[in-house]
Amino acid sequence: MIYKILLTIWMNLIIAAVFLYVEPAAGFPGEVSRILFFHVPTAWVATLAFFLSMIASCVYLITRKVNADFLAQSSAELGFLFCFLATVTGSIFAKATWGSFWNWDPRQTSIVMLLMIYGAYFVLRSAVPDHEKRRVFAGVYSILAFCTVPFLVFVVPRITSSLHPEDTLNPASPGMDMKTLIFFLGSLCAYTGLFVWMLRLKVRMLKIMDKEQGVKFKV
């Protein structure tokens, strides 16, 4: 409970601050660079969630503990949600700076493929009737799909050039001033906290649903 309240306060503070306190970055028209505080954290959380889902799948395949599969499934679902949000916010930014919502920039291509991969993951989950088998298959597919991600992230963007702002708005490069950096990291923390909270809820929900099904089966 206290976690939820703290998270709400923290998130609201960050949202208020990035609009009222931080100046927009130079080199971008108007206020568009403020999307940095929302787009990048969602993309980061999506990456984190997919990575966590893959690790949990590995753990499940090795130990066969049902809880690991609950974690893998919840994490993949939340990752899908955040990945979708990253796509939408990125698309809005693309409209504002490049002039169109969608132009198959390598970044857009790779994020859409990620959405497709995890879409397929959910299709697979719903198509295997046996519980045990479904968990194993989903785990295997999740690992297999994760192996294609490096190709999307590193290889495809190198074949075709990208317009994605990297150097101008990357925390590692000197292009970002101190104030922006602090609030950017604050936003990153807020989103990660939100993800952890949602993940715990989701896992709890799956556990309860599983228990209920077990009870029904016994009766």
Partner: protein, 196 residues
């Protein structure tokens, strides 16, 4: 059969002169890979379903090591893809008037692309044989996995056919890396699926 039908349809409706000279490199590469991928998928999806339908799956599970089964299926799929490529690619070149600047590089991208196709889909075929709605599920599961490969292969064939230089063969290297990674991971994961 599907491959030939598509090829004839494409060639009939587009012909060798319908597309502007400047747009040919890209469009031809895309068309060729669309034909190849779709005709390959219809065959690849059957590789394990056949065993399931004939009822030989259980005996195979008892008599052979999972790795051996996987490699056997992989080689069968690759042979099938090779045969398909040997028919489709020359026919496409003849029918569409496809001029290729760097035949060596073009052949290499076809071979490595085919290798990647087989490597990426064999494990999925093993999974869908034990699930519902097999045909639809197979395409849904394998497209996302194959997309990076297909994009690379299209770029590669475009470069080999009309590019300025084919030095370094970057796409061939990427496709090879993809195939090697997919085969390795599949070999590790296949026993888990097989023993279910």
């Amino acid at each position: 059969m599907f491959a030939l039908t598509t090829l004839v349809a494409v060639s009939f409706s587009i012909g060798s002169f319908r597309i502007e000279e400047s747009e040919r490199p890209f469009l031809y590469a895309v068309l060729l890979w669309i034909i190849l991928v779709f005709s390959a998928l219809s065959g690849l999806s059957r590789s394990f379903v056949k065993e399931q339908e004939a009822g030989t799956m259980d005996i195979l599970k008892l008599s052979a090591r999972p790795q051996a089964v996987f490699l056997g299926k992989l080689f069968f799929n690759l042979t099938m893809l090779g045969a398909l490529g040997l028919i489709i690619v020359p026919a496409f070149i003849l029918l569409m008037g496809y001029k290729i600047k760097f035949p060596g590089c073009f052949a290499a991208i076809m071979v490595t692309g085919g290798l990647g196709l087989g490597a990426g889909t064999t494990l999925v075929a093993a999974m869908i044989a034990q699930a519902d709605a097999r045909g639809a599920l197979f395409s849904a599961l394998s497209f996302p996995l194959l997309l990076p490969l297909v994009i690379t292969a299209i770029k590669g064939s475009e470069r080999a056919a009309y590019g300025i230089s084919a030095a370094g063969w970057p796409e061939v290297k990427i496709a090879t890396a993809y195939a090697v990674i997919m085969i390795t991971v599949s070999l590790l994961l296949f026993p888990l699926i097989w023993e279910e």
